[in-house]
Symmetry: C2
Subunit: 592 residues, 2 copies
């Protein structure tokens, strides 16, 4: 008997008559009419194996001891199934393996939860037993997809002459950006490394080193309070190039993502992707990462209503704000007062003071505020909003940012409720022409909207100090189905521009030198024009796998309190370890 | 004029007549007879460009401002060179580009050291200006090789159904092994993450999760005092499999390394690689990572000399030690007394008390100790050592470990001095049958020779508690040209064996549970038999690139004090940052 190892899920009718050896896990065991049937699972899938006393009484006796998740090695003969027992829902459903010998490689206690896909065990328990949770088919598929996506990008980038390179994890803390994870140095008393928030400066140094084309699947760290879709460590596809324009970098990214979509999902996406300026994205979608798989765009009626008798609208415009509307086509009958109250509560989360509404009837606009509008205003609104009978018009009148935030969020909520989203669609979109700076009211200074190394648009360079708020960045974000997938920019490659940028950000000359002397030095020794992009790889995998939770795409993720229920990290350490690092814990009572 | 971008090093005679645009760095500028010649460098290599007033006076005028390492964009016509000016040492030496336009993209100060390969600037300065040092051709080539090697392995492993997966960096500190780098938690007061020394437990958990085949280019961290060939962070090719035997894992590794050698060096290496047991490696080479590119093997004459009148030899054997010799064939005339004194000083570094020697002449053995040996003993030695006229025999008599350490080191030293090593040869070698445990005299207990999860050889399992010192491990190291390239083992997959192992290592039940409860739990839920290997990737690149320094294979390495002269990491942090982590520095005077 040939004892070649086969894979369960790969067996087909072509294997009928072959002697095969299989190793794997017991997915399910059924006893029926003196026979034992086991669904045997390995990394390739599942096949049914049968223990029959006429084949081997000995094997049958061992099979009787076997339970769910036991690890077994079996040998037997591939046979076709009775037509009545063919399972059309199973890839290997037309065959089974008639077992002549079995060895139990390891036993298993009854798992604390069912490994079926439908099981609804709490996430904390699933994370504690992550090694069981990962055995589920959909988890296995997600990590196969993750592998495939990463190899697809690697092969694209290698083909285009990019080198995969590794930047340090033990780096220096910088005050800009999010909070750093720190690593105390044992050798240098009182000194600390920081784990990188991104390899930003190193990738620029790689360009300064003449490599021209670099990429890395870079682990990045941010010690922030975690939201549902954040993790303390995450992976980004980090790319940097020299001598390329924004358009060339965007085009390269598009070709790479098109290849991934083809390799991983079998989908042809059209390139080039659509582009929106930041201003247009905000104006039309109330968001800098709009989901463009559906309409419900925001429409501005400020100019129409600013002279109206409805004081809420008129005064919002008068005080520099806006009145925007969303038109829910044909939905007037489907939204009760109560529904609209619910939506009003929702927009209040985003700072809106209220949600005005009008229903369109054959005779005109109806609703509590309709009386404030003259026929001219009503007609102009109807035209602007492309309104017809049975439409429901929803308005927010407020400061511009509140209007965008609240209607942008409402737009997403309504699309979900009304099932307007085609979940098989992948809408890639560039958002360009970002503001370079944002004014930080707490710090009383401008801060970099992206980071302090972003190149201003060439035409705005001379406004950097005189009118910082108006300066646009040579920056581009890539959005997929309403998620920010990544972003990039051209970087400053001239020392005097970088110094000017630090000044605008309120750095003293000493601070700039203290933190970034090496960068300023490097800019003097022949730095090429350069730029790049970084894509959130966990996020990309999440969207490709159709998951809604980033934790399902990370092998061993952390909880919202940045802990790992499996290994119980973080843990305590010995006093000796701390002393070697010249550290002690602050006593509770000495902290006040 | 077509303005297609070309690469300098890729231009050939086929491009003659083409209008090309090039972007890159000024490697060298020469002014000659009213013309300016520039060696223009980009990532592909170098081409000569010429500024001729008859082509463009304007371009020539700009070229006059250009200095070394300026970044320029030029356009011009590819022409063939005068036969007299052809440079056969240059890939593009038969052509040059006659420039019609030039733009200076960035200027450069005069570099603090020459970028020529021969420059001997101190490493500290080179690390401070790493972005300049990396522009050297041999550095560029090393990182291209590094990329090629990693993609070669990735493609092999993907082909063989391995999934590339990412394990966490923020993990839990464990007391076994080297010193951890710690990361204080802000959320969990007094708790710390540890950066991984290797993904050992996570790769085992991946097997427990049913993935069967995993790999990762894993960043690993050890906070140890650095030797010349160590770095605080390094990269290992980490591989783990289920259901495979040691032989199968070794065979897979061999095929992978053979592919890398072919893809990167164009060399066909023979597989399977040679294998030596640990005992045999020590006996024949005095080393567990022998360089087998040359002979000079250690030979044991203990049994011959134990009854001799030479007390040094006889007493070494009598007290349980050994007398070993190396035969330097035909070298008797080439080593003076002074040379041998020098070698004696060398072996003393390794604890040897002295180095005895004999020269073989036609008449017999000569030297100060020859008088102690009877003719029978002399004949037996001559036979054993295959000695003939003009050989030099070098002896160490001592405790076994001292004999191995000193003669093992002497063997390497002599091979270098006598130029016995073929530097074009790549000798891969497996060292197998390692001891499972080592006795630690400081801790007064057995410690794991590899790690506490290594599976003992099946036949030794029952001796684990009764005779720990005699137990061999299912472990294998791979050695290349005398460097330990990596190692692996089968792992314990049964809970009771793992518990027994912890007991042998002196862990109390509580300690084992506190540190490894999740592992012991996981072993109860259907853990497959599994094992793997980890290869030092920086080391592999070093050997493939023919470098002698690990720092030349790491993009931004640390110095021996674990600092980075470029960014000045590690650095100080603010009191606020420390307070958020519930930490304070230990005052110097409170430390005593």
């Amino acid at each position: 008997m040939v004892k070649a190892r086969y894979l369960a899920g790969d067996l087909t009718e072509k294997d009928i008559g072959n002697q095969v050896t299989l190793k794997g896990w017991v997915q399910k065991r059924r006893d029926l009419g003196g026979l034992i049937f086991i669904d045997l699972r390995d990394r390739s899938g599942i096949v049914q194996i049968v223990f029959n006393p006429t084949v081997s009484e000995e094997a049958l006796a061992v099979a009787e001891q076997v339970r769910t998740e036991f690890v077994i090695e079996v040998s037997g003969n591939v046979v076709d199934r009775d037509p009545q027992t063919v399972n059309p829902n199973m890839k290997t459903g037309t065959i089974e393996v008639s077992i002549s010998s079995i060895e139990i490689l390891n036993e298993a206690k009854n798992p604390p939860f069912s490994l079926s896909e439908k099981d609804e065990t709490s996430e904390d328990v699933r994370l504690k037993y992550r090694y069981l949770d990962l055995r589920r088919e959909s988890m296995q598929e997600t990590f196969k997809l993750r592998h495939k996506a990463s190899q697809s990008m690697r092969s694209f980038l290698t083909e285009e002459d990019y080198l995969e390179m590794e930047t340090p994890m033990l780096t220096k803390s910088t005050p800009e950006g999010a909070r750093d994870y720190l690593v105390p140095s044992r050798v240098h008393e009182g000194h600390f490394y920081a784990l990188p928030q991104s390899p930003q400066l190193f990738k620029q140094l790689i360009m300064m080193s003449g490599f021209e084309r670099y990429f890395q699947f870079a682990r990045c760290f941010r010690d922030e309070d975690l939201r549902a879709d954040r993790q303390p460590e995450f992976t980004q596809v980090d790319i940097e190039t020299s001598f390329m324009s924004s358009d060339e970098i965007m085009s390269m990214t598009e070709r790479m993502l098109a290849k991934v979509m083809k390799d991983v999902k079998g989908i042809d996406v059209e390139i080039p992707f659509n582009r929106l300026s930041y201003d247009e994205a905000m104006r039309r979608f109330g968001s800098d990462k709009p989901d463009t798989r559906f309409g419900l765009e925001l429409m501005d009626v400020s100019d129409i209503v600013e002279q109206s008798d409805f004081k809420v609208f008129a005064s919002a415009v008068a005080s520099g704000g806006k009145v925007n509307a969303i038109n829910l086509k044909g939905q007037a009958q489907n939204f009760s007062r109560k529904d609209i109250d619910r939506l009003t509560d929702f927009v209040k989360i985003y700072g809106a003071k209220g949600l005005a509404w009008l229903k369109v009837e054959e005779e005109g606009l109806k609703g509590p505020i309709s009386k404030f509008f003259t026929e001219d205003v009503a007609t102009a609104m109807t035209d602007r909003l492309d309104a017809s009978a049975d439409d429901l018009l929803l308005f927010v009148a407020d400061e511009t940012q509140v209007v965008y935030d609240s209607l942008g969020a409402l737009r997403l909520k309504l699309a979900k409720e009304l099932d307007l989203i085609d979940h098989n669609r992948f809408d890639f979109l560039w958002v360009t022409d970002w503001p370079l700076l944002e004014y930080d009211d707490n710090e009383n200074r401008y801060v970099a909207a992206h980071h302090p190394f972003t190149l201003p648009k060439e035409e705005d360079l001379d406004k950097l100090e005189s009118d910082p708020a108006s300066v646009k960045a040579s920056a581009y974000d890539i959005v997929l189905n309403g998620f920010e997938l990544g972003g990039g920019s051209l970087r400053i490659h001239k020392k005097d521009w970088q110094e000017k940028m630090f000044r605008v950000l309120g750095f003293s000359k000493e601070e700039a030198q203290d933190q970034f002397q090496f960068l300023l030095d490097a800019l003097e020794y022949g730095t090429p024009p350069h730029g790049g992009i970084a894509l959130g790889f966990d996020r990309l995998v999440m969207l490709l796998a159709g998951k809604s939770n980033l934790r399902d795409t990370i092998l061993f993720p952390k909880t919202a309190s940045a802990s790992d229920p499996l290994t119980n990290a973080p843990g305590t350490v010995s006093t000796k370890q701390l002393e070697e690092l010249h550290l002690q814990l602050i006593e509770k009572n000495s902290q006040s």
